[in-house]
Symmetry: C2
Subunit: 350 residues, 2 copies
DNA sequence: CTGAAAGCGCTAACAC
DNA sequence: GTGTTAGCGCTTTCAG
């Protein structure tokens, strides 16, 4: 393992020319005669020369690198988003530095500061939790930044962003249940103060009032800390009974994992889905199609969210003007929701 | 957006000292008087100075960056592995550059070459498909490299690696089915020539012969190309009927996604799992616990694989001697496998 | 204790 | 066409 890598100088010495000639030859500068150009390239190949991107970056002040912060890499939702990001980044010749924040504001900021030190060309932050106090700090970094599904209201105005229309999603979910004849519809949410949770809840309320239905019991899991959220599956599992006791026939769940938890609870309690209870999830992660029954859910175009955010960043890097995007989720109807059966009094049942 | 960032020079000018004094002060060099040290640090803070990691890297020839190649970021297995990698990398002060190869050797090599140009301190490659021809090319890069679940036999000797014992896994799966009384056991594999597929198959054969059972029809899904593998779920779905026709009562599936496909096929065909047929998966991804019935599966310690590989790379960077690791998978018994019921002739059934 | 100077590997004016 | 030189931002001898 030779520590000292071979440089443009080494090639120059061997070729009996100056290092700048080598540089020019390697970059196909037309001012060098085609003949020596080829010779030098050949020599470089023989010597296993690999250009030093660090040195190039120092000079050009472009690292061809972007930083990405997500809450968790193992989360299927963000994994898919990052997949999209990486695809368009790579096809544009950019590499992706990935960091996980685990929903912790401090970690999120640390990651961004790290990106700043590394002089990445741009930053993508998913599910940002950063509040007002740190916003200015970030804003003054003045590095092209695109937020994905930002979780704090003020940010969307200060930064570029691509977001999903959570309110529309909530509305679609509930409208679907209403169209199936459900009248007693609950919401099973999570306990943090994230914007997405609040807006999905708002959509729920809107759809109900438009259907002239009064909101049923809204159950929101309460976690100890604002930032520390218990496993979504556990939340769904624990909270389902409350809604059932309240007599709902349909439930809109904050996301697919919560819905899966609810589904598990139903299996345990002998409640059959969708006969006794209709369930609607959110996100459209792969898992949602594989549980029994497969989940009716509000899909986010996860790959598109990633691609779109990365494309926006690319435009920003080329000094183009960009407009924030709000993508629309859509309903995918599967087995976990069904028409409300007319209540048959028990004595008529076998 | 000021293009020119503030540098150590700018601080020096304002402080009326030389840039080297500033550098020393910032790095807590004891040779600088504590007083001016503080003053300079304060000034740096006021001026929003952020050290340029690129310049530092050029000098130190360390980038504090490692490169990671996986087949797909969205694959739940690798997502979990990367989560582990990122955790220990970050706690060691290293950043992670992530690249997806999509099981394509060319892309894998391109990613590694890119890492080489960027002068990352080390490389982690998961599920490597690189064959002999390119191995030397990679070997001469002479960059600390750790392979994770390498898919080509020769590699394990030339490079450092952490791997799962696939043969043991296959053996455990089949032994489990045997212990439940199954005698007609099939294998549902995938069509590529990956080492993992072959070794799980080997484990299957070993367990059968140790139990004095003759290998039942071994069905391996065939995909068009060696490298292009159809969706694992689809493979499971399509191949299941073949095994059923062959009269098996238990099936060991290449991985959990294949098993899910098999499960879906069973639901369609009215075969109940585990009453009519026992299913065992491999990997232990989250999904496996949420389908109905939850999958009995051979778990890989995914997080540990990632952490372990990264730790090995860390050791390599400190010139420690390291030993390759082979981790053991373990059985997690859930609802998809059950004791073989004694065959009751049809005429006695209601 | 502090400054001047060299150099990490590369690109791009500017000379010849 | 090709070489010389400066400089990207930083760390680190080496003098003083």
């Amino acid at each position: 393992m030779s520590k000292r890598r071979i440089s443009i100088q080494d090639i120059a010495r061997r070729a009996g020319v100056s290092h700048s000639t080598v540089s020019r030859a390697l970059r196909d500068n037309s001012v060098i005669s085609p003949k020596v150009r080829e010779e030098i390239k050949q020599l470089a190949r023989e010597m296993n020369y690999v250009p030093n991107a660090i040195a190039q970056s120092l000079l050009s002040s472009r690292t061809n690198t972007i930083g990405v912060v997500v809450t968790s890499i193992a989360d299927p939702f963000f994994a898919e988003v990052v997949e999209g990001i990486e695809q368009v980044a790579r096809s544009a010749g950019l590499s992706v530095v990935l960091s996980a924040s685990h929903r912790d504001v401090e970690e999120e900021i640390a990651a961004i500061n790290n990106f700043n030190r590394r002089r990445v060309d741009g930053i993508l932050v998913a599910d940002s939790r950063t509040g007002k106090q740190h916003m200015k700090q970030l804003a003054q970094i003045a590095m092209p930044t695109v937020l994905i599904n930002s979780q704090s209201k003020e940010q969307s105005q200060m930064f570029h962003s691509v977001e999903i229309d959570d309110r529309l999603g909530g509305k679609l979910a509930v409208e679907h249940l209403v169209s199936l004849g459900h009248k007693r519809i609950g919401y099973l949410g999570v306990g943090d103060h994230s914007k997405s949770n609040q807006q999905r809840l708002e959509g729920y309320r809107m759809a109900l009032s438009e259907a002239n239905l009064s909101p049923m019991s809204v159950v929101v899991a309460i976690s100890d800390e604002d930032n520390i959220r218990a496993s979504d599956v556990a939340t769904g599992q624990q909270m389902l009974p409350k809604l059932v006791t309240a007599g709902v026939t349909g439930i809109f769940c904050y996301n697919d994992m919560v819905a899966v938890g609810a589904l598990l609870a139903c299996q345990e309690l002998g409640i059959s889905v969708p006969q006794d209870l209709s369930l609607v999830g959110f996100d459209g992660i792969a898992l949602s199609g594989y549980v029994t029954p497969p989940l009716t859910t509000i899909c986010q175009p996860m790959l598109e969210i990633g691609c779109s955010a990365m494309q926006m960043l690319l435009d920003l890097l080329q000094e183009k003007t960009v407009e924030n995007r709000v993508l629309s989720p859509f309903l995918v109807q599967r087995g976990s929701s069904a028409a409300l059966l007319p209540k048959v009094p028990k004595q008529y049942l076998i």
